[in-house]
């Protein structure tokens, strides 16, 4: 199969007058992870719902595992796994019964369903809890069971919609490792997240959504390079100097930003020697600085810069 497992072409989705997605196009190559970043309401879940056949696009086409999500939704369904923001498990049923149920619905015989369930329970370290009703599971266990349920049918493509929201740090790390293993097996993953470290860690490429539009895409490195420069951070000894510091830096051709909460002035610097310009400007203005640093751009910077500029443009 040479076609990429996820192909989205000019997809728009409208709910009445509200445009949740606006001409979104993207592709995810086999065995890779696409991180979909965006604020709440940016359209991430809407896109996942369209790709997992839960709701049709208003315009445009999307193909998953080679099948059209509208015309061939059943074929799509048998190839995908979906893990939503809220664990979609039956609270009344045990972990075991939940997985057997999904396997049976997919068409597995009783024996095969049970084998598959046992396999996944072991893999997700739920064997001991297998017989307990899922309502007694902890948040992390529920999420693991949910992910296990979406893997029952050996899916080619997995959608993870904010999979670690509300999980404690060690559960998050565990989930990340599972995802990494899946990708190692050749599974294609589309991951939505608000956590930038998550996208940075897991995603091969990142697409930033804002108000339903793709505002940037590329690898984490490319995005960082696009936003560009490193950032100089000066911590002021006397917060009252803030305005003068901003003026002094602006006068030397920089574009400083004052963070009033932390009493720091940040300003992008194109090259290392510009740090000297910052120091000189502040020194000449007679402003005392208690700390000075040069930071690499983080995904946070990318995200905030892109999403904010798109917000303001809208």
């Amino acid at each position: 199969m040479t076609r990429p497992p996820i192909e989205v072409e000019h997809v728009s989705k409208e709910f009445g007058k509200f445009r949740a997605l606006d001409d979104v196009s993207l592709q995810v190559p086999r065995g890779s992870v696409l991180g979909l970043l965006g604020h709440n309401g940016a359209g991430k879940t809407t896109l996942v719902n369209i790709l997992s056949t839960l709701s049709p696009p208003t315009r445009g086409t999307a193909r998953v595992a080679g099948h059209d999500v509208v015309r061939e939704s059943r074929s799509v369904c048998s190839r995908i796994g979906l893990t939503g923001q809220f664990a979609a498990v039956d609270e009344q049923l045990s972990g075991m019964d939940n997985l057997v149920l999904v396997a049976r619905l997919l068409g597995a015989g009783k024996r095969a369903a049970k084998n598959r369930a046992e396999e996944l329970l072991e893999l997700f370290e739920l064997t001991e809890a297998a017989k307990r009703p899922a309502r007694n599971y902890s948040g992390g266990m529920r999420r693991r069971l949910d992910l296990a349920a979406s893997l029952v049918g050996h899916p080619d493509v997995i959608f993870l919609d904010e999979p670690t929201t509300g999980l404690d740090p060690s559960s998050r790390m565990g989930l990340w490792r599972i995802v990494e293993n899946l990708v190692g097996d050749g599974t294609t993953v589309l991951l939505t997240t608000q956590y930038l470290d998550e996208a940075d860690r897991l995603a091969d490429s990142i697409t930033v959504l804002s108000s339903g539009q793709v505002v940037a895409s590329g690898t984490a490195e490319e995005l960082k390079a696009e936003v560009g420069q490193r950032t100089a951070t000066a911590t002021l000894a006397d917060p009252a100097d803030a305005e003068r510091a901003v003026n002094a830096l602006s006068a030397s051709g920089m574009s400083p930003v004052h963070d009033a909460e932390r009493h720091v002035i940040t300003t992008p610097v194109a090259a290392s020697h510009e740090l000297a310009v910052v120091v000189r400007a502040l020194d000449e203005a007679g402003i005392e600085v208690s700390g000075l640093g040069l930071g690499e751009p983080t995904l946070d910077d990318v995200y905030l810069t892109l999403a904010n500029s798109a917000h303001q443009a809208a």
């Binding site: 009344q92 019964d97 396997a103 997919l106 068409g107 072991e122 349920a149 599972i178």
Partner: protein, 280 residues
């Protein structure tokens, strides 16, 4: 969830050999598996069964004690004990109460999130509803049997129609219940809010129940209420159930009750499936 998760890499996705796709179970398997799921949920939480029995038991006790003596005169032409008169009605109203609960249960299920998973599986969504209605029908059948036993043992229920009449009345009550289950599933799949569903049910149920021949004969109702009761479909269901139970001459009442039920069932099913398919 620490170290061992990294080890069995080939098993999450399956080896190439294992990695054959399941393409969705056939409709029959879908229905049996999903019905089993709903039933198991009920069995795991017996409180549901106990509490849903409590209300009809209380009604049975109250009505038989409160109205029993007062009404003997006006029902004498049909039977010689009020409990015999009351029980066929209790069967029908309990069945309808259970249908309302099906609707509420569907909305709870929608919130639970597991329905979201079903939507992304290669199955026919209608089978989820069929399974739910069947599981609830089974539960209602058991409830009604328990009620009949309680009425027999505690209150001396011994209808003129004997076992055959009682069983036919039981079956009729189940059919009425099943058809209204589909009506309430249809409402639930469009409304999708528990509170609204509860009040729709309450508004529909109470007037229907009391402005009918369920607890008192039509002649004992004031004039205007008698007119309402005469056009109330519940009156026909209750009368039909009573005809069967009390070995009264079975007229067109039973047939119109059957026909109405089947009609409601079909209409309910069409709208339920259509409503349920709408995206969450």
């Amino acid at each position: 969830m620490t170290t061992t998760l990294t080890a069995p890499r080939d098993r999450a996705g399956g080896t190439e050999h294992e990695r054959r796709h399941w393409h969705g179970a056939n409709v029959w398997t879908q229905i049996t598996v999903l019905t089993g799921r709903s039933l198991r949920a009920v069995l795991r939480d017996p409180r549901i069964v106990v509490f849903s029995l409590l209300q009809p038991l209380i009604m049975l006790t109250l009505f038989s004690q409160v109205f029993g003596k007062a009404l003997m005169g006006s029902i004498a032409s049909q039977t010689d004990s009020y409990i015999n008169y009351l029980m066929p009605a209790i069967l029908v109203t309990t069945g309808i109460g259970a249908s309302l609960q099906s609707g509420v249960g569907l909305i709870t299920d929608m919130k639970n999130g597991v329905l979201g998973r079903f939507r992304a599986l290669p199955i026919r969504l209608g089978t989820v509803l069929v399974a739910r209605s069947l599981a609830d029908l089974f539960r209602t059948a058991v409830q009604l049997v328990v009620l009949l036993l309680a009425a027999t043992v505690l209150f001396g229920f011994a209808p003129e129609g004997g076992l055959a009449g009682t069983v036919s009345a039981w079956l009729l009550a189940l059919l009425v219940s099943w058809s209204l289950t589909w009506v309430f599933l249809a409402i639930a799949s469009w409304v999708r809010k528990e509170e609204v569903m509860q009040s729709v049910g309450f508004l529909a149920m109470f007037p229907l129940m009391f402005a009918s021949s369920a607890f008192v004969p039509l002649d004992a109702l004031p004039g205007w209420l008698r007119i309402v009761a005469r056009v109330n479909p519940l009156t026909y269901a209750v009368d039909a159930s009573r005809d069967l139970c009390l070995a009264l001459p079975v007229g067109s009442g039973v047939w119109s009750a059957l026909g109405t039920s089947v009609l409601l069932l079909v209409i309910g099913a069409v709208f339920a499936v259509r409503g349920f398919r709408r995206p969450l």
